[in-house]
Amino acid sequence: MSYINREIAVSLSFMFFGAAILYSVYNINVVEGVNAIYTHSYIIPNFVTAVLFDWRGFDTLGECLILINSVLVTGMVFGRGLFNSEFLKEVYGNQKKLNIDEIEGFTPIIKVLAIPMSIILMILGVYVILGGHITPGGGFQGGSLIAASYILAIVSFGIRNCPINFNHKFLETLESFGALIFLILGLTGIAVSGYYLLNIHSLFGMNVFPSPTGLENAGIIPYLNTAVGLKVLAGLSTITTLLSSERVIVKNISD
């Protein structure tokens, strides 16, 4: 009986929300509000990026710091600075001891395909980062794509034999440089106009980011995109490395 009641509830809610969505789509109507400011004060063709990096640059900086925090927390729980090993002992303590050298990994088919796919995915990530100010995409998406290529390589080859060697120092450098470039670009805004993260279009009569005709107002947005891309790539890759290093975790627990 309760099963039927649940079915009826699901059907009713589905109908209600479906009707509400259809009704709102039918009556969709653009009200001249904030969007009028964006469309009349032309910054760059991609309005989402204009909002993310120009109008709300501070907000994006905060989002980047959230990512840094998440990496720090993952490092504290799973990395070398183990914060509370009781939880990990419960999860990993009762496992049979695996000899990692004996694990052969995936079949050659996957191994052969994984590397070209990783490389192409990596370059696609760079392309998405670069086109962030004119096409849908940007630093977050491109960085995630590059991290996905790294994850693909790790899944296929394992962390020990992974052909893409994002070592600790490299990731740390990328993460630091990404955040530092963002902050320094914000400071140039203060130096030029007195506002933090102000989009400077030209400096000493030269375009900040040399672009073709029609894109002169891009300003510092492509640089910010690149910085965020490097940061996201480093952050996600660090989390992946930490979570996939089971051997390190088991070793740390036993110490």
């Binding site: 893409i164 060697n165 994002f166 073709p212 005709t213 891309g229």
Partner: protein, 82 residues
């Protein structure tokens, strides 16, 4: 005559940034990459992607130059490892 588009510093700067990022990623790849394979596949994909808006190129130069940067980084990595 093939039209390669207007190649100036204004139009190629984005691709050069891509080359730099590609180089950064390329020096982390340990395995040896088959350069001709990646160049041919890269040109095909770049042609299918098309150039970015406002950049009137026959194909995506930023994709190709990023790939070139990555392959170059890989070669440098191999040379220094030896």
């Amino acid at each position: 005559m093939i039209n390669y588009g207007l190649i100036t510093i204004n139009t190629m700067f984005l691709s050069l940034v891509g080359m730099l990022v590609g180089f950064l990623l390329g020096i982390t790849i340990n395995t040896k990459l088959n350069i001709w394979f990646y160049l041919i596949v890269g040109v095909f994909i770049a042609y299918m992607l098309g150039s970015l808006p406002y950049y009137n190129f026959p194909m995506s130069y930023s994709f190709i130059l990023s790939l070139v940067g990555l392959l170059f980084g890989n070669i440098i990595n191999k040379v220094f490892k030896k």
